[in-house]
């Protein structure tokens, strides 16, 4: 009985940390410039396909290719900002909706492109240092790829925290607080925004690579994770790194418990229910700043 409880709790924690990191990238971009990236799940999906391709053609283990994919996604994030988002920011009519639907159109485009290139069927990375291995501690089974993913997620959070302490991190925060005033001291906010997008995309890229180590890869894999990421971010509070971490783990746990107690197909109902309840009590989320 205790072993089962622990099994559920560990399962929730391992998944929750992935959710947290996916959400962190989303939250970073939102906090910086008040834009919800509806193509966030698709960025994760692209990172998973990148991992799959690198694994298939170069035989690299997911852990080895982390920096490569992170850099690729960083570049993609910068590109998306420069090509689309900067334009969406400069429209002077209906700005909120334009931003939503530009990223939405981008999401549909990326999904179509992935389907065009890779086809619709599920793929998976099934060899590697950790692939398929589990460890057992006192009757609790630990799938090693997920354990590794959790450690990478924690490391990525530490990395984001360190970045926020640097001078660049301060400039990010300053731009977040007053995007017009930074120009007065010679800071190019477009530059900061572009780097912010790069950083957000790289973050979800890291999550995608680690997820690809134990999850199926397909063009539509992003949608579900994105939905959970939006809930995580709204639950934790937009723009809060700590909020994303706490809410991600919370959601992982609620999902695991709902699946165990009720029924696996209802696991997300539990998650969404908790989210609604928290929002009723705290509309800004757990750690949301006003």
């Amino acid at each position: 009985m205790t072993a089962m409880v622990f099994q559920v709790a560990i399962g929730g924690l391992l998944m929750g940390l992935i959710y947290a990191l996916v959400a962190a990238g989303l939250s970073l971009i939102f906090g910086l410039m008040d834009i919800v990236n509806f193509a966030h799940g698709e960025l994760m999906m692209l990172a998973m396909f990148a991992a799959f391709v690198i694994w298939q053609y170069a035989g690299l283990d997911p852990l080895m290719m982390l920096p490569i994919v992170a850099i690729l996604l960083f570049g993609l994030g910068v590109l998306i900002y420069r090509g689309l988002i900067a334009r969406a920011l400069s429209v002077n009519f209906n700005r909120g909706m334009v931003q939503i639907f530009v990223t939405f159109g981008l999401a549909i485009f990326i999904r179509g492109a992935a389907q065009f290139v890779f086809g619709g069927e599920f793929k998976s990375i099934n060899t590697g240092w950790l692939a398929g291995r589990t460890a057992e501690i006192a009757g609790v089974y630990l799938p090693l790829p997920q354990v590794a993913a959790s450690f990478v997620c924690l490391a990525a959070f530490a990395g984001l925290l360190l970045i926020s302490r640097t001078e660049f991190g301060r400039a990010l925060e300053a731009t977040r607080e007053d995007r017009d005033a930074v120009a007065l001291i010679g800071i190019d906010r477009d530059h900061i925004f572009a780097l912010g997008w790069g950083l957000g995309a790289a973050t979800v890229g890291v999550a995608g690579v680690m997820l690809a180590g134990f999850y199926y890869v397909a063009p539509n894999v992003g949608a579900n994770f994105a939905l959970i990421a939006y809930v995580t971010v709204a639950l934790g509070g937009f723009g809060s790194l700590l909020g994303a971490l706490v809410a991600g783990v919370l959601i992982g746990e609620v999902e695991a418990i709902t699946a165990a107690v009720l029924e696996p197909s209802l696991k997300q109902v539990g998650v969404f229910g908790i989210y609604m309840i928290v929002l009723m009590v705290r509309p800004r989320g757990l750690f949301g700043k006003l």
Partner: protein, 332 residues
Amino acid sequence: MDNLITRRRRGELWIGAVILVVLILLPLPIADAYTRNLIIISILFAGLAQAWNILGGYCGQISLGHSLYFGIGAYVSTLLFVRLGVPPLVGMFAGGLIGGLIALLVGWPCFRLSGHYYAIATVVVAEIGYLLFLNWDFVGGAMGVYIPFKGDSWVALQFRTQKLPYHYLVLAFATATWIAAWVIEGSRWGFSWRAVKDDVIAARSLGVRVFPSKMAAAAISGFFTGMGGAIYAQYVGYIDPDSTMNGQLAILIALPAVLGGVGTLWGPFLGAAVLTPLSELSRSYLGGSGRGVDLMLYGLVIVVVALARPAGLVSLFGIRRRPKGVADGSPA
């Protein structure tokens, strides 16, 4: 000034009447079922987009969960018909009423949220509904519900081979949404809602009761969306959570309004006239064997239109509902 407005509003009625006559005559020379189907779906989405526009455009509440009201409407009328034998002509209104009621229930907690928090909450609520219906055996679960055919009838809204009756049914539906929008535009409510959309605090200071305004807009919007769902169910004869409650559907409902021109009388229709055929045609000609080209094209169109015509496609015709205030155009 007042004269100008009434004259313009009367002009819009005339334009509407002319378009209505054209749409009544449109299917007559068209024989093939594919094209007629395309037109029916486009008009249905025009009505749905107009219904969305009432809440999203006029009142500024960006709902990404209208699939819920659509699905509820479809399920209510279908289950009333299948289980209790209530004719869909009546069930359609029941579906609309329940849809509006659900919209009120959703609005109660969600309208306290603002901006992105609201948009995401609507996605989540719709997703909860979708998951519940998927796992609820009483309503058919994932298997869905087949609507048995009981003979051609306007009461049951069933026609085995004919498309024409459905054409006039969706046209009546879309016309009703348009008239609702037209009435709202000229009414005190329309004024209050636009104030809520532009600036909540300013609206309050003008004596607008913000929360009731949002609720009224949600109820009307949910009513028409539910009605559209009921019509859709009778048209296709089969419903399941994936075809009537999928989150993707919420976007398909909102998109024509946004890209056509939010908060305008013609935007949702124009958007649907362009987007729905585009989506359907690209799916049938490019989407075969799941190659994704149709999605790429569709996504590209959304991005390009949103960036090139932020005020919507209606702005191509020089139709601007009203001069924009500082709310959207404040200098950087």
